[in-house]
């Protein structure tokens, strides 16, 4: 049965009905060997209790667990707060941080729908209207026209706008702000320069900065925990000490080398910032950096100061105030240590947040040079400052481009030059570079797993990446051939791990994932054993 097309105005209607139900049959098909096996229902429905407690009338998925209001009065209050927030979003003073981009994006769209074809979520879902990049933008535009502009109600009628601002619209819109990874592929595609990813970002800000609505994993357990405890992982400076000594032992065990991981070394050239997720999930990445920098005699240090050992800045996804707080802390740590520069390790959003976005919240002695670590890695590998042997990496490798580093920062080639030089069986995913697809875990999704959201991000937002990975390895899909998806970003690794895991891709197809520096260290000739351990993690 053909589904009826959802229209923009439907977001305010039928409050008790779910706007969209997606089934496996709707979704974009996957290549071999996942092309067979039927269309199973991949997104588990919420339990009765969850449905009663939380808003889920958008698509039956709850990303941010908004409690249902208890009374009509509460709903009205929330609608008023939303409108107040919207006014602030459109004010040059309150929203100086993104006012220009927001206005341009709101005003320049000509509804050509070029952006739809660019969006992996829209395509993967089988072109569900509510996931179209322009859907949430159009809802917002119509609300602004009708409820903010003078004479709006009259002109809305003339213009044929059919939106109503009620709690249902707001609750659905809040969830909808978490059905876009802010990968900004649509913005790159837009001939007019309208940025639907930015509109998502601004909506999230309105909900967080005015209404206190944000996913727990990003706000409470994310930025708030990072500022109070030191890291969004919950690692305290004390716990960090133990982790580091464990890693030093691990390095010795693996390589026979006694390497001290430098901490709080004043006056070092480089303060290296890692996503603290690496300490817990992928310590080999941090170990690999230590081995490589030791071999290359680089003057570097980590920090054990609060926030100084966690590069993440989730603020960039949803809240300018939290963004500024964390960026300022990062710069303060570097200032205290008197380092020459901050180098961001393999974490995409931390790259964009600290090097680019926060550029204009840091001034004076906090304006310390900040850079990506990739050019340095390229220098070590391509200028042969380390002895490396590509034969040690003679297995199929493909490269994932983290949106934040590539499309959003223009760091396209260093990582490619490294893998081309070190991996004889390197093959690109298609498309790649600035045209890449998001892993599906962008903008916080990789760490969001409440209720049935993980099902959604594995089956919808990550679907395109899974397709690309499988396509890249079609000729070597036999599980006895070990394959490596190189993703130089912690969040992307987390998402790719979950994607591969849900299809048992390591056991069934021999596909493993990991970072970039691991490939470099794996090729180091003065290590006896290969550094990469082919086991699932």
């Amino acid at each position: 049965m053909k589904k009826e097309k959802i229209r923009v105005g439907d977001i305010s209607k039928n409050r008790d009905e779910q706007l969209l139900t997606i089934t496996g049959e709707d979704m974009m098909s996957l290549p071999s060997p996942l092309d067979k096996g039927g269309f199973q229902q991949l997104i588990r429905p919420l339990t009765e209790e969850q449905r009663n407690d939380y808003e889920c009338s958008l698509d039956g998925v709850s990303a941010i667990a908004i409690p249902k209001p208890k009374s009509k009065e509460e709903e009205d209050r929330l609608v008023e707060r939303f409108l107040g927030g919207l006014r602030k979003l459109l004010s040059q003073n309150d929203n100086w941080t993104f006012w220009q981009q927001l206005l341009l994006s709101l005003e320049s769209c000509v509804r050509c729908q070029t952006c739809g074809e660019a969006c992996s979520i829209y395509i993967s879902s089988g072109k569900q209207e509510i996931y179209r990049p322009t859907y949430r933008a159009e809802v917002l535009r119509r609300i602004i026209r009708k409820y903010i502009k003078k004479g709006g109600k009259f002109f809305a009628k003339v213009a044929g706008d059919d939106i109503d601002l009620n709690w249902e619209t707001i609750a659905r819109l809040a969830e909808l702000a978490y059905r876009c990874t802010i990968c900004r592929r649509c913005a790159q595609w837009c001939p007019l320069g309208s940025d639907n990813g930015l509109i998502t970002h601004e909506l999230r800000k309105l909900f967080s900065q005015e209404m206190g609505i944000a996913p727990r994993e990003i706000h409470e357990l994310g930025t708030v925990q990072q500022l109070n405890v030191g890291s969004s992982t919950g690692i305290t400076p004390r716990a960090l000490e133990n982790i580091i000594s464990f890693m030093e032992e691990d390095i010795e065990e693996k390589t026979g080398k006694k390497i001290m991981i430098p901490f709080d070394r004043e006056g070092a050239d480089i303060l290296l910032l890692h996503n603290a997720g690496e300490f817990i999930s992928w310590p080999e990445n941090i170990e690999a950096f230590a081995i490589l920098f030791d071999a290359a005699n680089i003057s570097w240090t980590l920090s054990s100061e609060l926030v100084g050992y966690d590069a993440v800045n989730y603020g960039v996804w949803y809240d300018d105030v939290q963004l500024a707080r964390i960026a300022i802390r990062h710069a303060e740590v570097a200032r205290e240590l008197k380092v020459k520069r901050i180098s961001v390790g393999e974490c995409g959003h931390a790259h964009k947040a600290l090097v680019v976005v926060a550029d204009r919240v840091l001034s004076g002695d906090l304006n310390i040079p900040r850079e990506s670590v990739l050019p340095l890695l390229e220098d070590l590998v391509c200028n042969e400052k380390i002895k490396l042997d590509p034969k040690r990496n003679d297995f199929p490798v493909t490269l994932h481009d983290p949106c934040n580093m590539v499309r959003l920062m223009g760091i396209v080639e260093p990582q490619r030059r490294i893998v081309r030089k070190l991996c004889p069986q390197f093959r690109e995913m298609e498309p790649h570079g600035v045209d890449n697809y998001c892993c599906g875990g962008g903008s916080g999704f990789a760490i969001m797993s409440s209720m049935n959201f993980q099902d959604w991000r594995e089956s919808i937002s990550g679907r395109m990446k899974l397709k690309q990975i499988l396509e890249a390895f079609q000729d070597v899909i036999d599980p006895s051939i070990h394959k490596y998806v190189c993703a130089p970003c912690s969040n992307c690794k987390g998402q790719i791990r979950d994607l591969l895991n849900s299809h048992e891709a390591w056991d069934k197809y021999g596909i493993l994932y990991g970072g970039l520096v691991e490939l470099i260290v794996n090729a180091m000739v003065d290590l006896e054993k290969p550094f990469i351990e082919w086991e699932w993690r």
């Binding site: 097309k5 923009v8 602030k88 004010s91 040059q92 003073n93 309150d94 100086w96 941080t97 993104f98 006012w99 220009q100 981009q101 206005l103 341009l104 320049s108 509804r111 050509c112 729908q113 070029t114 074809e117 159009e138 003339v158 213009a159 044929g160 706008d161 913005a187 001939p191 007019l192 320069g193 940025d195 930015l198 005015e210 206190g212 708030v224 105030v321 500024a324 707080r325 300022i328 802390r329 303060e332 680019v356 976005v357 550029d359 204009r360 919240v361 840091l362 001034s363 004076g364 906090l366 040079p369 850079e371 390229e378 499309r407 959003l408 223009g410 760091i411 396209v412 080639e413 600035v434």
Partner: protein, 288 residues
């Protein structure tokens, strides 16, 4: 009647200039924003010590902008089906703008009898191209379900107006001026130089309609996306933006903005705090 048309026409020119300037000024005076740019390929961040390296020049940006505007490159690469008619329309439009410029200059500088015949061909070809493009887009917009869903009725009126304007212009030149370039040029000359007041106050329907259509477009122009496109390139919003270098003008602006109070009121945002107060000493001080 003639007086009204004169008032509308010259009023619309004035309005267009003033409103466009006001709009440009509004954007030019807008506060500096956080950086959120995109990249079309490799950037300076691929280099070690990038802050010591030259950034993208304005010339490179202008070149890219010119190519985009001339060929509608993004539509060509990303949405070919839409590009065909859109491009015809734009080529027609660009040619028509040039034609009008040429006409005004010639009318004031050469003898009207010397008006070249190819001028007529130029004008007609441009009009026909724009017309084919315009009708094509209008039909596409009407019939394509995907396009229709987001296009509110008022926008179709705009395209109808485009088509009407073009048809009327064609009629004026071909029928009213009898396809004679000297006649067209003579009319323009008389109007621009206020040589024939009789005609100004008692215009023929064909020229009056053309003038009224032109007025409507002049009034619309400041609200159109054309003006906004300007900022896409020249105001450093979309493509690689200017880094905040110590001691630079950008830094001075940043400092001013950071001294503003934060106006948002969620629980995690302390009331009355300035952006610059988010340094750790100040936050700790405020908590104690």
């Amino acid at each position: 009647m003639g007086l009204i048309i004169i008032a509308v026409f010259y009023g619309s020119i004035l309005f267009c200039v003033v409103a466009s300037l006001a709009k440009l000024l509004k954007f030019a005076k807008a506060p500096l924003h956080l950086r959120w740019e995109l990249y079309r390929g490799s950037s300076v961040y691929e280099l070690t010590d990038w802050w010591t390296r030259p950034h993208v020049t304005s010339l490179a940006k202008m070149k890219s902008a010119a190519l985009d505007i001339l060929f509608l490159r993004d539509f060509y690469h990303r949405n070919r089906g839409f590009w065909y008619f859109l491009y015809l329309f734009h080529v027609g439009l660009y040619l028509l703008i040039l034609w009008h410029l040429w006409l005004f200059i010639c009318a004031m500088t050469i003898h009207v009898d010397a008006a070249p015949v190819w001028g007529l061909l130029w004008g007609h070809v441009a009009t026909v191209l724009a017309l084919i493009g315009g009708v094509g887009i209008f039909i596409k917009r009407m019939t394509d379900e995907e396009l229709r869903a987001y296009y509110t009725p008022i926008h179709y009126v705009k395209w109808l107006f485009v088509i009407l304007t073009l048809v009327e212009a064609f009629y004026a030149v071909q029928i009213y001026f009898d396809a004679s370039m000297p006649a067209v040029m003579k009319y323009v000359r008389q109007q621009v130089a206020f040589e024939d007041l009789e005609m100004k106050f008692h215009p023929h329907m064909a020229t009056a309609a053309h003038v009224l259509f032109a007025s409507a477009w002049l009034i619309y122009l400041p609200f159109s996306h054309i003006l906004r496109l300007f900022f896409r390139y020249y105001h450093q919003v979309r493509w690689d933006d200017v880094p905040n270098v110590r001691g630079s003008a950008v830094e001075r602006k940043v400092e001013k903005l950071l001294s503003q109070r934060v106006g948002w009121s969620a629980p995690h945002i302390p009331h009355g705090r300035k952006w610059a107060d988010f340094s750790s000493e100040q936050e700790q001080g405020a908590e104690e």
